[in-house]
Symmetry: C2
Subunit: 151 residues, 2 copies
Amino acid sequence: MPKNESPSQAIRLNEEHVAENMTRTREEHATELAEDYVEAIADLIDEHREARVTDLARLFAVTPATVNNTIARLQKAGLVTSEKYRSIFLTNSGRELAEQCKARHETVYRFLLSLGLSHKIASRDTEGIEHHCSPETLRAFKKLADEAGSS
Amino acid sequence: MPKNESPSQAIRLNEEHVAENMTRTREEHATELAEDYVEAIADLIDEHREARVTDLARLFAVTPATVNNTIARLQKAGLVTSEKYRSIFLTNSGRELAEQCKARHETVYRFLLSLGLSHKIASRDTEGIEHHCSPETLRAFKKLADEAGSS
DNA sequence: CAATATTTTTAGCACATGCTAACTTGACAT
DNA sequence: ATGTCAAGTTAGCATGTGCTAAAAATATTG
Ligand SMILES: [Mn+2]
Ligand SMILES: [Mn+2]
Ligand SMILES: [Mn+2]
Ligand SMILES: [Mn+2]
């Protein structure tokens, strides 16, 4: 029945772009947990010298079994090293990723603060938003956060 | 070995908040695909009178089998109606959600544009960011986008 | 109408991410 | 040294989200 009638220029669904964007967002989600883990592990090591399964379980509000499972994947991905009953460490690759993620997290957080949002809200939304910012967007965020910071 | 030494006030891991934020982000991810689907279905119906499996598969860059699977879940969730070999429609609840999501999508997109980002980048990043904006953040985005819009 | 092409569905698979329950290991206090 | 408790592991399960390949239904076209 629908042949091509009603151009209906209201929404303009650019199908090519939508498909690209969806694919990109899926890719971001695939790396999201890994990013949060290496970031948390780096933070824990900074604060307590070591990152243990229990610490991560508390931080992420999941069970130790889930942490174990995830750590096994991260190890396979070459981001962490882990021996049984020992605490978890980052590989060089993991440390590098953690650094990038911490910087990115910081940028997004400061940007949201600069919009006048509360620490609580900014910190909450940062946790999700950080994984979906392209380098261009991140640059824009950083610029504005820096400008607002020099108040 | 680690007892409580080195306050190391560099990062300040507020464990309570981190756990809360992670839980929240997980919840957002659980509804993300549903939101994008109802939005896409609404757009397709606006443009073509109907939303078919193939259309959605093209839009999301997945296989028709995947769309079928997802539609079954959405139906169980009461967001769409679907009969075999027929096109897909929104329930009232689905239409309502689609409206909200479209408004939110629009707000985030206009906000990113107002930062000087290209349409391409803004549209890409919006697709992920939109699902992680609290009402407060959304209000801030809208305010700034509106201000910039009146140029 | 009949042949063909497209669309939709189904079955069966895989992997990520979560859980609980049971078991093992390690740490620590008496 | 031993007994207890916390921490870590494992097995087994569920759900979400993707895939391919094959079958069934529908649409198009000669
Ligand atoms: Mn995060
Ligand atoms: Mn996300
Ligand atoms: Mn959207
Ligand atoms: Mn989206």
